[in-house]
């Protein structure tokens, strides 16, 4: 029994990369005339617990809006999803040594990297919270970006409907060891 337990822990320790294909990425725009939110439940993400490298990739067309026309305009007129199908974040968890995946707990980490969206890459920094509970790893984070930074133009006509700043909320319900198929 003791031997079995040790071997499980050892496998976990040897495993350094964790991934998920069901990260949730939401964004929120607040403007005087309209609040907009959209959700994408299929963000692909991976992080390396040894090096701290962390990445996210999301298909722009996978963002779901409550109004169909908003979704169409988002893809057609703003982020130009045919030209730029994905948004990608590549970064590093700076204090990766503070994150002890073998031990249950709530860990606050600092993530720095670059977000590529609409063909434009800009540095971003965010605080993220990793939670380890009974060995299951989840993570949440948020950041706010300036729409104009990504060369997304908001015509004057709709300026009261679309916020200049957009808040992005990231929630990865479950990171699994890379190579495992159990985490869809």
């Amino acid at each position: 029994m003791m031997f079995l337990l040790t071997s499980v822990i050892q496998t976990a320790a040897a495993q350094t990369k964790y991934f998920s294909k069901s990260g949730k990425i939401s964004f929120y725009s607040k403007a005087p005339l309209e609040d907009i939110e959209a959700h994408n439940f299929r963000a692909v993400t991976v992080f390396d617990a040894t090096s701290g490298q962390i990445e996210f990739s999301v298909l722009m067309k996978g963002f779901e809006f409550e109004k169909a026309k908003m979704q169409e305009h988002f893809n057609e007129n703003y982020v130009e999803s045919n030209k730029y199908p994905k948004a990608v974040f590549m970064g590093n968890i700076q204090n990766i040594n503070d994150l002890t995946l073998e031990k249950d707990g709530v860990y606050t980490v600092q993530v720095s990297g670059s977000l590529t969206l609409h063909g434009v890459t800009k540095p971003q920094h965010a605080q993220a919270v990793f939670t380890v509970k009974n060995g299951a790893i989840s993570a949440v984070s948020d950041l706010t970006i300036l729409v104009a930074d990504y060369h997304i133009k908001i015509p004057a006509l709709v300026a009261d409907k679309i916020g200049k700043w957009v808040k992005i909320v990231i929630h990865v319900p479950s990171y699994g060891p890379l190579g495992s198929k159990s985490n869809g």
């Binding site: 990369k17 991934f19 294909k21 939110e37 959700h39 692909v44 991976v46 390396d48 490298q53 990445e55 990739s57 298909l59 067309k61 779901e64 809006f65 409550e66 109004k67 169909a68 026309k69 169409e72 305009h73 893809n75 057609e76 007129n77 999803s81 045919n82 030209k83 730029y84 199908p85 990608v88 590549m90 590529t116 063909g119 890459t121 015509p155 006509l157 709709v158 409907k161 890379l178």
Partner: protein, 297 residues
């Protein structure tokens, strides 16, 4: 990975490559984790509106969307300054169209000309898409009926069934690129009764519609129907050329056309003027979409 296919493949691949290069140079860990074959994605927004100009386009209303449409057709521009180049004359159609599901929409409209009521349904049979189970084009079926309620011009009012007509139309279209979409739309219009001995009760016509996007919110459209079994001396082919302007919640379709009618019976079987002889009219369609049923999140 990308939304074009077929003809545009080479362009697409090169666009993808240039986009991917900076990412790959950083040795992404995501490589191999992301699906190589992306899920099926609908090719959307081939046209800005559910009509090219007069004809049904390959676009559908989304479920729960109500489209309130106001259409105007003015008099002939060549009627001169006394008629203010046709703007003194106007006929209109008002319509409510609704997306029952993402694949079925229905509509009801009324035109001032002949006080004619029209109802229709449009069903998406095949949706152009990429990825798994992709389809290179969209196929739709439109069915409609029209019933005029106005007094006949110089005769006693015909009975109800004689004032009724029907149509069935197939729409096959493809968004070839971000900018260019094209569709063919054969149509059969049946009138229960015609008032000219030389006219056919059933008219076949082949429609063609195209859209070319000039910018994100501006596009040029062309809408044409060629009658296959009616004499050109009785009816001419309706041709309309216009621009679509999208302003967020509204789409304005401004155009020049030789057709007066705003339903299928009227523009297919009752266009008598010639576009190239200068019998052109200004007209517009205004479309305002209301989201009555929001998508659950």
């Amino acid at each position: 990975m990308h939304n074009f296919n077929g003809m545009k493949k080479i362009v697409t691949i090169s666009v993808c490559m240039t986009w991917l290069l900076p990412v790959m140079s950083q040795e992404s860990m995501l490589k191999g984790i992301e699906d190589s074959l992306p899920e099926r994605q609908k090719v959307t927004a081939a046209f800005k509106s559910t009509r090219v100009i007069n004809a049904h386009s390959m676009e559908m209303l989304a479920k729960g969307n109500l489209d309130f449409r106001i259409l105007h057709r003015f008099g002939r521009i060549n009627s001169g300054v006394k008629q203010w180049f046709g703007l003194d004359d106007a006929t209109m159609r008002m319509a409510f169209e609704y997306g029952m599901t993402d694949r079925v929409m229905v509509g009801v409209g009324r035109s001032t000309y002949r006080k004619e009521i029209d109802v229709f349904s449009k069903t998406s049979i095949l949706q152009q898409s990429t990825g798994l189970k992709s389809s290179p084009f969209s196929l739709l079926l439109a069915l409609g009926a029209m019933w005029w309620t106005g007094q006949a011009f110089d005769t006693i009012k015909p009975k109800s069934s004689d004032r009724t007509s029907y149509y069935v139309q197939l729409i096959a279209g493809r968004k070839f690129s971000e900018f260019f979409s094209f569709q063919l739309s054969p149509i059969l219009v049946h009138r229960n009764r015609v008032y000219n001995l030389n006219e056919e009760n059933t008219v076949f016509a082949l429609g063609a519609g195209a859209r070319y996007k000039l910018s994100k919110r501006l596009a040029i459209t062309v809408d044409y129907h060629h009658s296959l079994n009616e004499l050109p001396s009785i009816n001419t082919d309706p041709l309309s050329v216009g621009v679509d302007i999208e302003t967020g919640g509204h789409v304005f379709q401004l155009h020049f056309s030789n057709a007066v009618g705003m339903n299928e019976r009227a523009y297919i079987t009752e266009t008598t003027e010639s576009f190239f002889n200068g019998d052109i009219r200004f007209g517009f369609n205004l479309s305002r979409i209301f989201t009555l049923h929001k998508k659950k999140q």
